[in-house]
Amino acid sequence: MWDYTKKVKELFLHPKNIGEIGNPDAIGEVGSMICGDALRLTLKIDEKSNKITDAKFRTFGCASAIASSSALTEVIKGKTIDEALKISNQDIADYLGGLPKEKMHCSVMGREALEAAIANYRGEKKAPEKEEKIICECFEVSEEKIRKVAIENHLTTVEDITNYTKAGGGCGSCIPEIEAILKDIWFVKPVPEKPAMPKKLTNLQKIALIQDIIEKEIRPRLQADGGDLELIDIEGNKVIIGLRAMCVGCLMGDVTIKGIEDKLKELVSDDITVEVG
């Protein structure tokens, strides 16, 4: 059972500012029912003073998601939008007397809804989804969000990132990427460049290299998740593999194959394609 503070329990059982403002000046919507939490924030903003005069929310989610949403509306009321934008997810968590670390993503959702609402008020269009690089496919978390939350909350481990953004909490296949992002943020030394490839590999060299990468880099990762694969054949640049163990019938099969292809493209040659035999 979660160790919620009195304030979380109070705001969960008796949330304030529930509902939706009619004819709102700003709307912020984040999350989705599929991800397990979602928040719709509506604001009334005074045009002259830029002050938030009213805020209401509707939230789908657990106790801490509901309490975080309620806390957010309490904190921002009466503030100008510039003041409100200075509120961090940590401020929301502090208002609640703290959140279990696994639930910090609820406070992040509050902060995101606020940003979305203010962007909506200012008429800023959200950058088109496609430009964002999605790192975590399971919970659709972008690299941008991971970087932002990591820096704002000084997060240094993958576990922290998962607690704050959910990224890495599903199938886990993006964990190496999250690690690389964290290294990039916190390590003074740049991530070492990949070794320079000889310009043209002979076929035998290429086959040996592909075998080596599959054995040392790809299979251990799949096996860690209960999956496995077998290298069946290499025809030119076409690598034919068979999925084994938990990979068979896995819903993430296509993502896995794409991941293997990307890895081989990166380390061997851009022309590599991967197919299931």
Binding site: W2, K9, F12, L13, P15, I18, E29, M33, I34, G36, D37, A38, L39, R40, R58, T59, F60, G61, C62, A63, A65, I66, E102, F139, T162, K166, G169, G170, Q223, A224, G226, G227, D228, R244, A245, M246, V248, G249
Partner: protein, 389 residues
Amino acid sequence: MKTIYFDNNATTRIAPEVLEEMEPYLIDLYGNPSSMHTFGGQLHNKIEEARAKVGGLIGAEPEEIVFMSCGTESDNTALKSAIESYPQKRHIVTTRVEHPAVFNFAKHLARKGYRATFLPVDNRGRLDMDAFSKAFDDDTAVVSIMYANNETGVIFPIEEIGGILRERKILFHTDAVQAVGKLPIDLKRLPIDMLSLSGHKLHAPKGIGALYVRKGTRFYPYIIGGHQENGRRAGTENVGSIIGLGKACELAGKNLEKETAYLSKLRNKLERNLLKDCPDVRINGDTEHRLPNTTNISFEYVEGEAILLRLNEYGICASSGSACTSGSLEPSHVLRAMGIPFTAIHGSIRFSLSRYNTEAEIDKVSEIMPKIIKELRELSPFGKEKIKK
């Protein structure tokens, strides 16, 4: 506030008769059954009596029962024994809806290089028998398929499965932790080689379980050490709890038929009430083949943890397949395997009853639940149009 405990698939109350039977062995008769003196040695007979009672509930001979520390140890031991006994075989078969005690052990074996097949289920949680019949071959060391599912209560066709495997001479283990004490099980008739059961699911204490190993089945112990349990499970016997498990099995056997009827009457009433008074709900799982005490209901547009904590305010205990309650971010693997939409999984609640629940409690929950759902839906950004209707 009086607790209304509707979470009996998680654990159960120790029956007063069980506690009474155990008490002397926790206080005065604390000897070690392996000792030469009477003070300890006399306990050996009590353990054998308990073994006969456990066997009696499931139609097994006493010597086919090995006491373990819990259901998980029993499941792990069965799988480990199978692969140790057939070292040349490198394949195991189980299902996508198993309890973690089997599911994660199978994944562990897969990481070690075993081939593991995880059989699918349909949207009502029924085993894909077509996939089952193609799943095993001469390389298969063991097939482990649960008797009844802990989350949905769905019962698998164990007799049919066992019959097919018996014909093919493939070892068959079933995790019957949720079934023993709730369903009549006769191992004289059923083609099962190994079966796991757990004490605290049938009103015995936590920390005791048993593995049934059919006579003639190859067996290799998991816990290695002393000679206890005929060399099949080392470690000084948990005397009090073994005696408690014996008593609990005796009680379960005596009242099985009556209790089944009582529990399904209560469960059906609860279901009827909730379906009537809450819009947009669905029952998860095959209602025709289901444990009498279990119901798994999805309430659309609201999240399970929020429901549980509101219920908690009234002293009502239940559980949920929602991600937020599991400590991980992933919702129930069982409901996902059934292809239940995520929206319905997040709002899924399991009520599981026991002989100690009453009709008054059912009425109370039937009254409170629709109120909670209505309040939480007011809070939710989803489903507004429908609710207005």
